[in-house]
Symmetry: C2
Subunit: 899 residues, 2 copies
C-alpha cells in the first residue's frame, strides 16, 4: 500500500527517469509514464544488459506542455541537468567538451509504438569545438566531420524546419566538384567544406547562426520531439491505430554509440523469431559501418544476421554470424534473455561500436497474423505462456489477412520482377506512383498497387488506400514493410530491378514498361511481382491456426454464426467454423436475375389471381433455396428473415429497364410507371418495409413461411436430421405486429404439418433494430422466442443517420473528432449499446430463456463483439470471412470478462 | 375493507341488478358494471323518482359473451327470470299475458355514452294474444296494433337482420290502397293488415314465423344488443372517442311506458341548462303523442319545453309549460333534484303516459365547449363545485371549437336559408351529399359541407371528414346536432326549406339550385346558411372563458409557449396566453418568396465571396425577423432554432423552376442541376440536416447567431426591456456537436457584444429529437442549458417511421389495431415517452436546473401534455391556436398529479 502511494506520488512529481550502468529509476511496468522505449531501456538496464546510459523525460511533461501553451513544468530544467550529469558520470565524458565530448540522441517514445511518426535527433552535442575532440578521440577525422554534418542536417530539418533539399543540393555540389558519386568517397576535408555550406544555408535561410551551445541544441531537439506528437502524420497514425491524443510521448536522451566507426562497427535490427511466418529462428538485418537509421530507412539493402537466412535468401553478403561470430554469440544470448524475460518475441535494435555490443531498444515485435499465431501457439507449447495468453496474443482483426485469397499457381503467369516478401497476401490492381494518386484512384473502389522507390511516413494515407505496395529499395524492416504488415496490406519491398521514368509516370524492369494504370499482381508472401491480373485461390489454414482457433473455441462463451443466403456461402461459413446461420436475408434470393421477374410480376399483378400465380412460382424457388441451405447446415440453427426491403427496390428505375419489365410481365407500361410512383418513398429507410409489408401484404410472408416449413419437412424426410427453423420478423416496433404475424405463421405451420403428416419444431423471433423495439422489449418478448439485434438499422435510427447519406458529413465529423469512430464499423456503446442493454434486460425479464444474438455488420468487429460478451448475448453472426475473427474476438472477450 | 371485498365478490357473481319502486340493487357509482344508463336508472329509483321498473344485465355478461364464443354465463337465465318477476310484481302486469301484458324495452347502456350506436327493441312482449289485451286495457285498438307493428318492424330489423325496406314497402302499399298519405290516417284495421303483411315478409324472407313467445323475443333482443357492441359503427365510434373495446355494454330491460297514448301523453328530452351556450335555463324539446325515439330520430320537428324558448325560437307550437303546466312543474322539480344530486348539468329523457310523468334516463349532458365553460364557472360560482372541479369539467380538446373564426358580418352575404344553430362555429366548403363523397373529396384537404336530409350513425365517417354539416330535418338534439357538437363541427340542423333533387346531386331552396361542388358557408352558432364563401373573423373569448383560463393558469405548474415565427403568429400566441416562444423555426423565414433567392444563391455560390454576399443579405433579413419577434415578445423567452432542414429543400425540383433559379442567381443551369444532384439524399430525414449543417457549413449558423444577438441588442436599445435569447441547436446526437457549435456561438457573441459595447444573457440548448440524444442526455447536458423535446422527429426515429411515408400502411395498422393510436398525434408513452423520461432524468442528473420543454406537435395534445406533467417538464410549446387547449390540459394534468 505504501509502495503504491509512494510510486504514485513519485510518478506525478518526478519529471526525469535515469537508466544505465545496471541501474534504472524506472521499470518496464511504467510504459504509461516513460513510453515503451523508455520503460524497456530502464528494464534492460536493470537486467544488466549493455544499454548506453541516458534518461527519459516523462509523458506527463508532454501532456503538461500541451496543456500550458508549450511551457514546461517548473523543475524540468534542473532534472534534465541531473540527467546529463548522470550520463556524464557513467560515460566519463562531458557534454560539449572539446576534448572528450558527450554526444546524445534525442528520441520520442510513446506508450504505443508509432514507428517513424515522430522526430529524432542524433549526434547532438557536436559543434565546432567538440568535433575536434571527437576526431582526436576516435582517431577518425572523417568520421567526426561526417557525424557533425549529419547532425547539422538532421537538426536543421527537425528543429529548424528547413527542407532536406537545401542540404542535398550542397552535398551534390561538393560531390560534383570532387568528381565523385558516393558519400563514402568524400574526405574529412570535403565534409568540412560541406559543413561550412550547411551552416551558411542555415544563416541565409533563418538569419541566425546554427546553435553552437549543446544545451541550446538539447532544448531545441526536446521541444521538436514533443511538438512532433501533434504533427499531421502522427495524428493520422493515431487515428488509424486508435491511439488517444492525450497519451503524449516521452523523450529519451541517451549517450550516442556509433555503428559507423569502421569495419568493427555495425548497426542492426533483429526479431527473436521470424515476424513474417513466426518460425522460432532469429531474424534480422544489419549494416556494417552505418548508423542505425540507415537500416530502418532502407537506403542501403542490409545483410542477414544468420548464415541460415543468408543462404535462404540467396545472398552473398556475409551474415553477422559469419563476419562477427563473437558479437553474434553475445547477441544471441541477449535475445534469449530478453525473450524469456518478456515472454514474447522481441524486436531489438543494436549497435556494435568498435567491437563493443550495445542494445538500443527492445520491444514486443510486430508480426504478421500468421507469425502471431505461430509464435503464440509455440510459446504456449514451450510452456512460456498459458492457453489464455496465447489466445489473447493474436489480434483478431489481423486474421483477416490469412483469410484472403492467394495467387493461383499457373505456368502462364508472367513474372515481372522479384523483391522481398515484406507482407503476406496477394493483390492485383492498377499501378499508381504517389500516395495522393493512390487515395484518389482508390476512392471509387478501384484496386490499386502503390509502386514507390521507398515509402516514408508521409505516404501512409496512400498505403492505406492501396491493395498492395511495391518498393524498389529497402529491406524486410523498412518503413514500407513494417507499415504494410501492420495494415495487412500485401507488400513486396526492395524490388531493385525497378527503374522509374523521370516524370514518374511509368517504370521499367529490363525492357518491360509499366505505365500508370497498368494492372500488376503482387504476392507479398513470395516477393513476386507479375504482369496483369492473376486469379486467386482461397487461403489455406495452417495447423497452428487450427490449434489457436480450437483453443479460442474452448474458451469462448458466445456462439458464432454467419450471415449467408447461398449454399456456397453456407459451406464457406461452416468451413470457417460458423455454428449456424444467424441471418438469411430472403430478399437476396429475390434479386437473382431469374427470380426478379417473378417478384416484379407479383408486385405489378392487377388481379389477385395473377398475384397468386407469381407467388406460387416464388414459393417453388424459395422452397428449394431453403432446402439447399438446410442440407448444408444440417442440425445447425438457421435463422431466416422474412422479406425486409420496400417493394420499390425490386422495380427498375431506368426507362429502358421499365420497358423491359413491362414487356416481360405483360403489363402496360403506364401501370409499371404508376406502381413505381405509388411505391416511391421520401425516406425508404423509415418506410413501408420489414414487417409492415407482412401486415399489409400478408400473402408474401405466408408464401415465405410455407416455403421454409415445407423445405424443412423435405430436409427431414431426405436426411432424417432434426431441424428447427428460426423464422425472424424484421422491423418490429410494436408487439402487436409480432402477435398478428406469429398467429399467421402458426396457421401456415398447422396447414403444412397437416398436409405433410409431420410436426416440426420452429421458432418465431424478431429483429431488434428500432429504438422502440429495444425500449419495449419486455412486451415484444411475450411473443418473440429470440431477438437478433440488427445493429445496422439500429445505429441508423438511434443516431438519425442514414448510412447512404452520411458520406456528406461523416468524414468532416471524424476529422473534427465530433464523432471519432464510424458507428457503422464499431458499435456505439453509449447510444446503441444502451438500447441493446435495455432490450437484453427487458427481454430476459419477460422470457428468461430468450435467445439473444446480433446480426449487423458489427458481428465481425472485435470491439463490438467484446460489448456483446459484456451484455451476455448468446451469439453473434457475421459474414463468412469474418467468422474466424469473431471466434477469436469472442474468446478474448470471454477471457477478459472472466478476469 | 369487508364492504369492498363484499362488493367485489358481488360484482363478479351477480349478473342482474334490479331497480324501480323506490329501490335498486345498484347505484350511480356502478357505471363500470351497469353502464351509464343502468347505474343512473338505479340511482333515480333510489332517489324515489318515477322510473319504470326494470333490471340491468351487467357489462361483465357482455365481456363473458365475447370471451366464450357468444355463450352466456350459467345462471343468467335464472337471474333474468327473477328480473322479469320483479317488473311483474311492481307493475302488476304479466309478461306475455293476453289480458294485462307486460311490455318491455331492451336497450344497450355502455360505461361511456355511445348515442345511437347500438341497438334497441321497444314494445317487446307483444304477440297476437297480448296485443288484444293491450287494446282492451288502453281502450285504444289503433294504438295497440300500431305498437305491435312497430315492435315487429324493429325486432325484424334489429334481431332478425331484415332490411327496413321490406316493411316500408308494405306500409306504403297499405297507404296507397287506402288512398291516404300519413301514418296517422290509418285505422286499427289497417294496422292489422300491415301486421299480417309484416309477418308474411318475415316468413318469406327467413322461412320461419315471427317469434310469438315473449321469452324467445326477450333473448333474441338481448343477444342483438350484446352483438351490436361489435358492429361497425360502434367500433368506429369507439375508435374516434377512444373507448376501449373490452368495456362491453350492459343491457337494460325495463317496463314500457307510452308517450303515444293520445293527447295527454308525450315524450321529450331536456337539458337542465342550455347545452349550446351554457345558460342556466331549462332547455329541451318534446312531442305530444309520440314514442321517445321520434324526438331523437328527428323525424318530426318537436316543440319547446319552455314558453321562453318557444318565443325565442319564434315557434307557434305550444310549449310543455303552456300545454301541460302541472307535468311541467313536476318535471322542473325533478330537474333541480337531479342537477343538485349529480352536481352537473343533466340530459334527461322523460315520457308522459296519460298524464303520468316517468323519467327514463338521466346522464351528464353533452355540451358545447362554450356551454361547458359557462356551466363549470357558474356551478363554481353557485358554490356547487370547486375551482379544481370546474377546471376538470371542460374537455381541453373542445376549446378548439371556440378558437375557430366566425363569419365576418357583412351586408353582402347572401342568405340561402336558415335552420337550427345545432353546433357553433362557421365553416365554408364544397357541397357533398353522402358520407362517402365527403370522405373522398376531403382526402386531399378540400373543405366540404355535408348536406343531408338527416344523419344516422352510418354517416359518422363523413361528418368527421366534413368542415360543417347541414340537415333538412331534425332538432337540436337530433343525431346530426349531437354528433357535430361532440366532434366540434359546425352544424345547422332542421333547415326545412331544403329540397333534394331525386338524383341527390343538387338541392334547391326556393328558386336557388345548389349543385354538388358549389361553395356554401354555414354558421352553426346562428343556424344560417349562405351562398358562396364568406370571410371569417377571429373568435372572441367570453368572460367565462377568461375566468376558466385564469383558474387553469393558477392551477397549472407547466409553462405554455407557442411555436411561432412571424410577428402575427407571435401576437396571436400572446393573445391566447402563451408565455413565450418555444420554437421559432428559422427555416420558415427562409422560405419566404423574397428570401428564397438569397438562400438559393448562398447554396449555389461558387466562390466564398459570392457565398459571403448572399449570407450577408440573409443576415440583414434575419436580424429584422428576430427584432420584430423580440419586440412582440418583450421579456418573454424566445427559443430560436438554427437552420434544420437539408439544403436541398431550398432548391427547386421542376425544370422550369430550376431554369428560373439559374437565371435569377446568375449561375449556369448545369451547376444548379449538379448541386441538386449533389445534395439529393436517399433518406433526407436521416441526412445532412440540423446541426450537421452547422458543423459542415459553419457560416450559415454563424450568420444566424449574429442576427439573433444583434437583433437582441437592437431590441434592448429600443425598448430597454431585458432579453435573453435561447439559441437552440437541432438534431444533436453526440455531445461533441454541441461542444463545437456552442464554442462558435460564444465566439460570435463575444464579437457582437464587443462591437455593440453591451453584454446580454443568452442560453444555448438543444433539441432532443434523436434516440441517442435522449440516451446520452447526461453527456449533452454538460453543454446544453436547456432541452426541448422534438417529439415529431423523436417519434419518427424511435419507431423508424417516416411521417411522409406512413400513409401507405398506418391506416391498415390502425384498422387492425396493431397501432391503435397515431403516434404523431398522441405521444407514445412506452417508446418515445421512455426516452423522454430517460433524457429528463439524465439531463437533471448532470445539470439540476436544466430547463426542459417540448415543442413537437404533441405540445397541443392534452394526453401528451398529461405525460409531460408526469415527467416534470417545465413547459410545452404548441401552435398558437392550441395554446388555450394546452393551458387547460396542463392545469388538469397538475390537478390529477396532485391528487
Amino acid at each position: 500500500m505504501d509502495q503504491i502511494s509512494a510510486s504514485r506520488a513519485e510518478s506525478s512529481e518526478k519529471l526525469v527517469y535515469r537508466f544505465g550502468d545496471g541501474k534504472a529509476d524506472g521499470t518496464r511496468e511504467m510504459k504509461k509514464l516513460l513510453g515503451g522505449k523508455g520503460a524497456n531501456l530502464a528494464e534492460m538496464a536493470l537486467l544488466g544488459l549493455p544499454v548506453p546510459p541516458g534518461f527519459t523525460i516523462t509523458t506527463e511533461v508532454c501532456t503538461a506542455f500541451y496543456k500550458n501553451a508549450h511551457a514546461y513544468p517548473a523543475g524540468l530544467s534542473q532534472a534534465v541537468e541531473e540527467g546529463i550529469a548522470h550520463i556524464e558520470t557513467v560515460t566519463g565524458k562531458t557534454f560539449g567538451d572539446a576534448v572528450d565530448p558527450l554526444l546524445v540522441s534525442v528520441r520520442s517514445g510513446a506508450r504505443a509504438s508509432m514507428p517513424g511518426m515522430m522526430d529524432t535527433v542524433l549526434n547532438l552535442g557536436l559543434n565546432d569545438e567538440s568535433v575536434t575532440g571527437l576526431a582526436a578521440l576516435t582517431g577518425d577525422e572523417r568520421f567526426a566531420y561526417d557525424s557533425y554534418r549529419r547532425f547539422i542536417q538532421m537538426y536543421a530539418n527537425v528543429v529548424l524546419q528547413m527542407d532536406h533539399s537545401f542540404f542535398e543540393d550542397i552535398l551534390e555540389e561538393c560531390k560534383r566538384d570532387r568528381g565523385v558519386h558516393l558519400d563514402t568517397e568524400l574526405t574529412a576535408m570535403d565534409w568540412r567544406t560541406v559543413i561550412n555550406g550547411y551552416k551558411g544555408a542555415v544563416r541565409n535561410h533563418l538569419g541566425t547562426e546554427f546553435p553552437h551551445d549543446p544545451r541550446e541544441q538539447l532544448w531545441g531537439a526536446t521541444d521538436a520531439v514533443f511538438r512532433s506528437w501533434m504533427n499531421d502524420r502522427s495524428r493520422t497514425y493515431r487515428r488509424l491505430n486508435r491511439i488517444p491524443e492525450d497519451w503524449g510521448t516521452a523523450v529519451n536522451i541517451q549517450a550516442m554509440v556509433f555503428g559507423n566507426m569502421g569495419e568493427t562497427s555495425a548497426t542492426g535490427v533483429a526479431f527473436t523469431r521470424n515476424p513474417s511466418n513466426g518460425e522460432n529462428q532469429i531474424y534480422g538485418e544489419f549494416l556494417k559501418n552505418a548508423q542505425g537509421e540507415d537500416v530502418v530507412a532502407g537506403i542501403r539493402t542490409p545483410s542477414n544476421l544468420t548464415k541460415r537466412s543468408r543462404i535462404e535468401m540467396g545472398s552473398d553478403a556475409p551474415s553477422l554470424e559469419e563476419c562477427m561470430p563473437e558479437t553474434y554469440q553475445e547477441l544471441i544470448g541477449f535475445f534469449e534473455r530478453l525473450e524469456s524475460h518478456y515472454r514474447d518475441m522481441q524486436d531489438i535494435e543494436f549497435t556494435v561500436q568498435e567491437g563493443k555490443l550495445w542494445l538500443l531498444q527492445t520491444r514486443t515485435g510486430k508480426r504478421t497474423a500468421k507469425a502471431a499465431i505461430k509464435i503464440a501457439t509455440d510459446l504456449c507449447k514451450e510452456g512460456i505462456i498459458s492457453m489464455e495468453e496465447a489466445v489473447m496474443r493474436v489480434e483478431p482483426e489481423s486474421l483477416d489477412q490469412l483469410l484472403h485469397p492467394s495467387l493461383a499457381p499457373s505456368e502462364k503467369n508472367v513474372l515481372l520482377t522479384r523483391g522481398l516478401p515484406a507482407s503476406p497476401g496477394a493483390a492485383a490492381g492498377s499501378v499508381v506512383f504517389t500516395a495522393d494518386e493512390a487515395e484518389e484512384v482508390a476512392r471509387d473502389g478501384t484496386k490499386i498497387i502503390l509502386v514507390r522507390d521507398d515509402t516514408s511516413p508521409e505516404d501512409i494515407h496512400g498505403m492505406h488506400a492501396a491493395a498492395g505496395i511495391v518498393t524498389a529499395r529497402g529491406g524486410m524492416t523498412s518503413h514500407a514493410a513494417v507499415v504494410a504488415r501492420g495494415m495487412g496490406r500485401a507488400c513486396v519491398s526492395g524490388a531493385g530491378e525497378i527503374r522509374f521514368a523521370p516524370d514518374r509516370k511509368s517504370f521499367t524492369v529490363g525492357s518491360a514498361v509499366i505505365k500508370k494504370g497498368d494492372i500488376i499482381t503482387i504476392d507479398g508472401s513470395t516477393g513476386e511481382v507479375f504482369l496483369g491480373e492473376i486469379p486467386t485461390i482461397p487461403p489455406e489454414m495452417s495447423e497452428e491456426f487450427e490449434t489457436l482457433m480450437n483453443w479460442a473455441d474452448s474458451l469462448r462463451r458466445m456462439g458464432i454464426r454467419a450471415n449467408a443466403e447461398t449454399p456456397v456461402d453456407a459451406r464457406r461459413a461452416r468451413a470457417f467454423g460458423a455454428e449456424g446461420i444467424g441471418l438469411c436475408r430472403t430478399e437476396h434470393m429475390f434479386f437473382d436475375p431469374e427470380r426478379i421477374l417473378a417478384v416484379q410480376e407479383m408486385i405489378l399483378a392487377e388481379t389477385q389471381e395473377d398475384r397468386t400465380t407469381s407467388l406460387s412460382r416464388l414459393l417453388d424457388m424459395q422452397r428449394l433455396d431453403f432446402y439447399e441451405l438446410f442440407l448444408v447446415m444440417k442440425s445447425y440453427p438457421v435463422t431466416i428473415r422474412l422479406l425486409d426491403p420496400p417493394l420499390h427496390e425490386f422495380l427498375p428505375q431506368a426507362d429502358d429497364d421499365i420497358r423491359a419489365v413491362a414487356r416481360a410481365s405483360g403489363v402496360d407500361i403506364s401501370i409499371v410507371y404508376q406502381r413505381i410512383k405509388d411505391l416511391n418513398e421520401v425516406n425508404p429507410m423509415l418506410g413501408h418495409r420489414g414487417c409492415r409489408l407482412g401486415v399489409t401484404y400478408p400473402d408474401i410472408y405466408e408464401m415465405q413461411v410455407r416455403a421454409i416449413l415445407e423445405a424443412a419437412c423435405d430436409t427431414v424426410e431426405k436426411t432424417g436430421v432434426s431441424i428447427a427453423p428460426e423464422i425472424m420478423i424484421p422491423l418490429v416496433s410494436v408487439k402487436e405486429e409480432l402477435t398478428m404475424l406469429k398467429a399467421r405463421i402458426d396457421d401456415i405451420a398447422a396447414q403444412v404439418f397437416a398436409a405433410r403428416g409431420r410436426m416440426l419444431d420452429y421458432h418465431v423471433g424478431t429483429m431488434i433494430e428500432l429504438p422502440r423495439a429495444a425500449l419495449v422489449a419486455d412486451q415484444i418478448a411475450e411473443e418473440a422466442e429470440f431477438f437478433s439485434f440488427g445493429t445496422n438499422d439500429l445505429t441508423q435510427t438511434t443516431f438519425g443517420l442514414s448510412r447512404d447519406d452520411a458520406g456528406a458529413f461523416l468524414p468532416a465529423y471524424q476529422k473534427a473528432k465530433v464523432m471519432p469512430e464510424d458507428p457503422f464499423v464499431t458499435l456505439d456503446r453509449d447510444g446503441v449499446g444502451t438500447l441493446m442493454r435495455i432490450a437484453a434486460e427487458k427481454g430476459r425479464a419477460t422470457r428468461r430463456s430468450i435467445k439473444l444474438g446480433l446480426c449487423g455488420e458489427h458481428g465481425g468487429d472485435p470491439r463490438s463483439i467484446d460489448f456483446c460478451e459484456m451484455i451476455g448475448l448468446d451469439y453473434v453472426s457475421c459474414s463468412p470471412y469474418r467468422v474466424p475473427v469473431a471466434r477469436l474476438a469472442a474468446a478474448q472477450a470471454a477471457i477478459k470478462g472472466s478476469t
